[in-house]
């Protein structure tokens, strides 16, 4: 089941990932205030992230877009404020005429841009990485880019016909690798191989490929560089990879990282190879409150024994607790309500 077909409020990983993004933006304000930035994102029909950046950061210059006219109509109904422009547009068109679009939305010369390209189609990874390359080339120092792409090895192959004997793992990985190579060959890390077509290896390979694309857009000897800030993989259904980073002058990179104090932030990725895994099982409220109270001072083994079970929604509790410690503040509490 692809992420897009799961109702939005039932995607706890995406929800936490979005909250972490917001936390990173809050940290970024130590470097530059974001209130006068333009926020551009697909946003889907609920415009959840637009609402969040508006409420928490005070950003009022909002742009949402989608290739589907029906979704854009729904966005227009759901937009949090009047200055949120909802455009019927594909991402490549948005990137190639970004400046004109901002002018048309009456946001000329903003203090900066935050742009989130939330891709879903694994077959289009080639276009996606090239769009990222051409976007990086258009931005200025202080602008932020966030990219979400599919990083599920199975998604690199067409589904097997029902009833057919499944391919042996080595053959499958070889085919997956050939497909990936065909799509993004020139960006692939030099030592990548079919052995990387795993849940852990693929996100790393894709992340480093984005690093190579960033280098092509912003060469070492140019004024600016793309500095990755946070790279996270998570799975509500299919595994996704989200990469957030900033365009910054070469000379300012160290100062930026120091000001943001990313060393102290558990999901920081100063390098393209630092991919963090986010594990968010669906917890009951009782479980959540129990864990929240104990997480800082008890050992994971103690918590597991007190819980009396060691896995929730197929996720081993001990493994999940390692990452939960870093993000429990953002765990979404979903309540059913009669309105």
């Amino acid at each position: 089941m692809s992420g897009a077909s799961i109702p939005y409020h039932l995607r706890p990983h995406k929800s936490v990932d979005r909250r972490l993004f917001l936390d990173l933006l809050t940290r970024f304000e130590r470097w530059r205030p974001l209130a006068d930035y333009v926020y551009v994102s697909m946003g889907a029909y609920p415009l959840e992230d637009h609402k969040l950046v508006h409420r928490h950061l005070g950003i009022t210059r909002l742009v949402a877009f989608d290739r589907d006219e029906g979704i854009v109509a729904r966005q227009k109904f759901n937009k949090p404020i009047e200055t949120c422009h909802c455009l019927h547009m594909k991402s490549d068109a948005l990137i190639s005429s970004l400046d004109n679009i901002l002018t048309d939305c009456s946001f000329p010369n903003p203090a900066g841009i935050i742009i989130w390209l939330d891709y879903t189609d694994p077959r289009q990874i080639g276009q996606q990485i090239r769009e990222f390359e051409s976007l990086s080339d258009k931005l200025r120092a202080g602008d932020l880019i966030r990219i979400t792409v599919n990083a599920q090895p199975h998604a690199l192959l067409d589904p097997e016909a029902p009833g057919r004997t499944p391919l042996p793992a080595t053959e499958k990985r070889e085919k997956q690798f050939q497909n990936l190579k065909r799509r993004i060959g020139e960006f692939l890390p030099s030592e990548s191989s079919p052995d990387d077509m795993t849940l852990e290896g693929l996100p790393l390979t894709i992340s480093r490929s984005f690093g190579a694309a960033a280098l092509k857009a912003l060469p070492v000897t140019g004024r600016y560089t793309f500095c990755p800030l946070s790279i996270i993989r998570y799975a509500d259904g299919e595994q996704m990879l989200s990469i957030t980073g900033a365009v910054v002058a070469h000379d300012d990179k160290d100062a930026l990282l120091e000001r943001l104090d990313l060393k102290a932030w558990p999901f920081a990725s100063p390098d393209w190879s630092d991919v963090h895994q986010l594990l968010v099982p669906a917890l009951t409220i009782r479980e959540r409150l129990f864990l929240e109270r104990g997480i800082m001072n008890k050992l994971p083994t103690e918590l597991v024994s007190e819980l009396g079970f060691d896995a929730a929604s197929d996720i081993p509790i001990e493994e999940f607790l390692k990452s939960y410690k870093s993000y429990y503040r953002f765990y979404p509490t979903l309540l059913t309500a009669d309105i």
Partner: protein, 480 residues
């Protein structure tokens, strides 16, 4: 010649060192300067002679490692080292003195005698060159020497016995230039350089040479040697008795003193209709199309799609997305590298060279045939799958063995070249069918999609075809 006037002095005409250091290095990119150092390693193997002709992996056991850090750079090899007499007389001179003669020792790529010096100048201002072939030695470049106007000879010292025992060369550069420091601090740049080596050294690595490149930290993690980028072409067995099939175009023989081998064909299946449509919008697939040219195994042009390799010249169309499956390789080989169309940076080619312009005629011949094949099938994409049945890939060693097994014919154009030009399958419908394509309102397409398939997601082309067939059926039935 002035004969009557009295000479009153001399005017300085010798080049300044500053000119060499600045100008020479400005014309070369760092990656190419580093490749020059690698070329020296391979030339070392060829020159010292253990590599036998005919051996499929003549470079087995030879290796080079390049360590890149913001503070220093090291390249070390076990490729035979520099003989002490060569070091004393030529190796550190600017350019190869005529007394050194031609290389005369087999198919090398070094010919100008500037590679190592230019690379050192490009990298930094302090360097040590250690080498052992017969007597081991160390030559030192100091910042003072680099900054001085004079061309003093460089000091040479003995090398301690425990160093470079396998016979090889080690170049260490410190005080790196600022630009070089920023390159070497960027792991993505280092990986990009690895990809460059994987391409430009693909034939040499495939012959057994091992190259490992990384930062000190990456070496501590045991980074593996570079894997060569591959070159392969598709072939099918002949179908339907026509004898027509997909197979490589092969040209082999001699142009002057240069051995020439050319292979061209398809490296992947042609684009499907949907893929072709997407390619029109934006480039979605990685592009391995184009011509590769190698001189004495060193790749100097990688997957080129410009006039340099014949695209858009004579009757060959310009390259565009539809030709994404077409690729070819040209192997030029000569024991005297001066006869090869090499440039000093070894990236690109001396297009004015006679050998290359004759080779290019053959390349164009192959490209033209392959573009015609692609164009013919463009109209009948749905039948494409049939032509790939029983297909497999030929790698470079398999391709190189083709001239001895195929029925080659003599080229009328160029003496000394034999060729094999396969007949590719042709769409039968070409004579009987026409392509229908038109634009319609989306809402109308949906109406028809519901009518014919009860499914609004069916592709417009399929809907159009159904509507066409339905109308035709009605008309034909009416006539009866």
């Amino acid at each position: 010649m002035i004969e009557d006037a009295e000479q009153i002095g001399t005017a300085v005409a010798s080049p300044t060192k500053d000119f060499f250091v600045r100008m020479l290095t400005r014309d070369i990119e760092l990656q190419d300067a580093l490749l020059d150092l690698l070329d020296n390693c391979v030339d070392g193997i060829v020159r010292t002679g253990p590599a036998k002709a005919g051996d499929p992996r003549p470079y087995e056991g030879f290796k080079a490692t390049l360590t890149m850090d913001p503070e220093h750079f090291i390249i070390e090899d076990n490729c035979g080292g520099i003989p002490i007499e060569v070091a004393k007389k030529y190796a550190f001179a600017m350019g190869r003195p005529p007394a050194a003669g031609g290389d005369g020792h087999g198919a090398t790529v070094g010919m100008y005698g500037i590679g190592m010096k230019r690379a050192i100048f490009k990298l930094g201002t302090e360097a040590l060159v250690e080498s052992r072939h017969d007597t081991g030695f160390v030559v030192e470049f100091t910042p003072d020497w680099m900054g001085d106007e004079k061309w003093d000879n460089l000091p040479m010292f003995g090398l301690s016995d425990d160093k470079l025992i396998d016979r090889g060369t080690r170049v260490e550069v410190y005080q790196l230039n600022d630009e070089v420091k920023s390159y070497f601090s960027d792991s993505a740049w280092i990986d990009d350089f690895r990809r460059t080596v994987a391409r430009h050294y693909s034939l040499i690595i495939a012959k057994g040479f091992s190259v490992t490149i990384g930062s000190t930290e990456e070496f501590m993690r045991n980074i593996p040697p570079i894997v060569a980028a591959e070159f392969k072409l598709l072939q099918t067995i002949s179908g339907e008795g026509s004898g027509n099939r997909i197979a490589p175009f092969v040209y082999a023989g001699k142009i002057g003193d240069v051995d020439v081998e050319i292979f061209a064909g398809l490296y992947r299946e042609l684009l499907t209709e949907a893929e072709a449509e997407e390619e029109e919008e934006t480039r979605g697939t990685s592009d391995d199309a184009g011509w590769t040219v190698a001189c004495n195994d060193r790749v100097v042009i990688w997957k080129d799609k410009t006039r340099l390799t014949g695209w858009g010249e004579a009757t060959v169309p310009n390259y565009h997305g539809q030709f994404i499956a077409i690729t070819g390789i040209v192997l030029l080989r000569c024991d005297d590298p001066k006869k090869l169309p090499l440039t000093t940076t070894k990236r690109g080619i001396d297009a004015a060279s006679n050998v290359y312009s004759e080779a290019k005629e053959l390349m164009r011949e192959a490209t033209k045939n392959l573009t015609s094949f692609t164009n013919k099938w463009k109209k009948f994409p749905q039948k494409l799958e049939e032509i790939y049945q029983d297909s497999d890939y030929l790698d470079l060693p398999a391709l190189r063995s083709l001239p001895s097994t195929l029925q080659m014919t003599t080229s009328r154009k160029i003496d000394g070249i034999k060729k094999f030009e396969p007949k590719y399958p042709e769409p039968e419908q070409e004579k009987t069918s026409a392509r229908v394509s038109f634009v319609a309102m989306k809402s109308d397409v949906i109406t028809l999609a519901k009518h014919f398939f009860d499914d609004t997601k069916v592709k417009p082309g399929v809907v159009g075809e159904a509507a066409f067939n339905q109308t035709l059926k009605v008309i034909k039935a009416g006539k009866k």
